[in-house]
Symmetry: C2
Subunit: 339 residues, 2 copies
């Protein structure tokens, strides 16, 4: 199939040692005398030897890869997290597999493990059915699963996440500081953990500030998309009394909202102040530029990857580190103004 390169056997002959010694030199150099090590490395260099991963994986009963599962590959939000994950694994000799939980069937999913196609998973989808999760956990006895961004409540799997609640509170504090007291919230998809956290943060902050939470002003986004924001805007437009500011569950929601308001002749930030969540790249260049809560997506990816790598090498995550919270940051821009 491939132009086959040299085998470990050829390296052994070249170096005048056994294959066992070559293998040791490569994977555990300390076991080998310095003279031998040099001879072997020279032979590797000379022959251009590259290990055959399939053989190695078979013998070591491993997959040599980790799997990243995300709810929707088409969503740009994830690309930077992937980038962070990738950067960590690029230096290991594990490959990174990517799959979309959208198109995937439960069976295929657990198949990744039973097939020994992956040694661990980074789950970016908190909406994964519990049955699948159980099966995953069963097929990977030592908990080779790490959640990133989202997570599944009620499971004790390690997770890396942004401080969603804190972010919501920062957003509200900012609006209050600008003089707003009538504040609404456009939430994300109803059953999403992020939605719940941000909503909880919103409610806590409103209460702390002594502000009234008007139920009609807390609307369901359906999802985190532009359309969800536009849809919410239409709802607000039909109200006889409106808030003066809204905190949105995502930047996309915020932009969809602003865009739809704009179409109806309502201006942000003059008539409405809007805060987003995520700080996606375009936020800075949207018109108006978007005030938002920045998530450090690369760091989320890096942390998740590092954690999984730790698990794989046997370092179990200490219970108190089970949830790693990543700070978020309020970025003040043009979509919010004093009342």
């Amino acid at each position: 199939m491939n132009a086959k390169g040299p085998r470990i056997q050829e390296v052994a002959v070249e170096a005048g040692v056994s294959t066992a010694t070559v293998s040791r030199t490569l994977s555990n150099p300390d076991l080998v005398s310095e003279k031998t090590r040099e001879a072997v490395l020279a032979a590797v260099e000379k022959t251009g030897y590259r290990i055959n991963r399939a053989a190695q994986n078979l013998r070591k009963r491993q997959a040599g890869a980790i799997l990243v599962l995300l709810p929707n590959l088409g969503n740009p939000f994830f690309s930077q997290i992937l980038s962070g994950i990738e950067s960590v694994f690029a230096t290991s000799d594990l490959s990174v597999l990517i799959a979309d939980t959208n198109g995937i069937k439960q069976d295929q999913l657990t198949g990744y493990f039973r097939d020994t196609r992956a040694d661990g998973v980074i789950l970016l989808d908190g909406g994964i059915p519990r049955a699948v999760l159980n099966e995953l956990a069963q097929t990977t006895p030592d908990n080779r699963i790490v959640f990133a961004c989202e997570w599944k409540p009620g499971t004790d799997l390690p997770s890396v996440r942004s401080d969603n609640r804190g972010g919501a509170q920062q957003a509200i504090a900012h609006l209050v500081q600008l003089g707003h007291s009538k504040i609404g919230h456009i939430a994300g998809p109803r059953n999403n953990v992020l939605t719940k956290e941000r909503l909880a943060g919103f409610e806590a902050a409103m209460r702390n500030q002594g502000l009234e939470i008007v139920p009609r002003w807390v609307v369901d986004g359906g999802d985190f998309s532009l359309d969800a924001g536009a849809q919410a805007a239409r709802q607000f437009i039909e109200m006889d009394e409106r808030p003066t500011a809204v905190f949105c569950g995502s930047d996309l929601i915020a932009m969809g909202f602003i865009s739809e308001m704009h179409k109806r002749g309502i201006s942000v930030p003059n008539d409405f102040s809007v805060v987003g969540f995520d700080d996606i790249e375009i936020a800075d260049r949207f018109i108006p530029s978007l005030t938002t809560i920045r998530q450090n997506r690369t760091q989320l990816g890096v942390l998740a990857a590092t954690t999984l790598l730790g698990q794989l090498s046997g370092r179990a995550v200490a219970a108190q580190d089970n949830v790693q919270l990543v700070d978020v940051l309020l970025i003040k821009r043009g979509s919010t103004a004093a009342i």
Copy 2:
């Protein structure tokens, strides 16, 4: 390492046949009598057997995976292409590996093949050094490389791409129809193939329309980013005579341009008409909504994946199908107006 499931041996015993027969049943059912097939499948079902990919790959001298190489994982432009690719491979039993040419060293790259970690590549980066490409081609004798979106001029590897030139012409035709004759172009990164094609399309269209190409109005983007567009806007602002419309090498450039113009009090489309390229998701919700050339990114991904899959199964691409051109579509929106 993993809770080890049943082996093919156990299935064989359960079904009362040899391992060879089990293997045949699973990979080549026609070789086996119906009665045996049923017995084997029942045994597979009963034992919950899953193949061990490492063993299979070793024996078949394959990697069981394909590699997608992209210039920048953090760039959302690629996520939808990935999604298309993924959807094709989800039904095969090949895994999809993803790596970033940015962080990767040449050696690591060719290592993917020599290690037998990948059976084929989809290259989304036309800027890959020729040396690397040569080495890739050498280590994969049967041309298991397919370009998507971008490509490398002077190589005869199969490629799937949008009709960039045609897109540029549609853009110019649209502007001319609106009455514009003073038209500029903000190109992408100088050495990029897409940049060159779109620029060529721009020039051809201008000539066809009998319009003058003003060199100062054709500016270098540096890259395809928002910042590149903003930077170009600053250049235009300093000119004493400006065009009335610009065609941009990407949507991000267009948005950066519009945003920066807006900051300087110049309004799109009143003072300037702007056409983008790509039709990324936000284009429709940008303010103003962006007139642009839509690339069918999912289709690009699907076609590339299908082509590679064909190559892997021995179907060589016919010479005349070496370049697959995907149609683009002008989407008229709010960033262009009659003069």
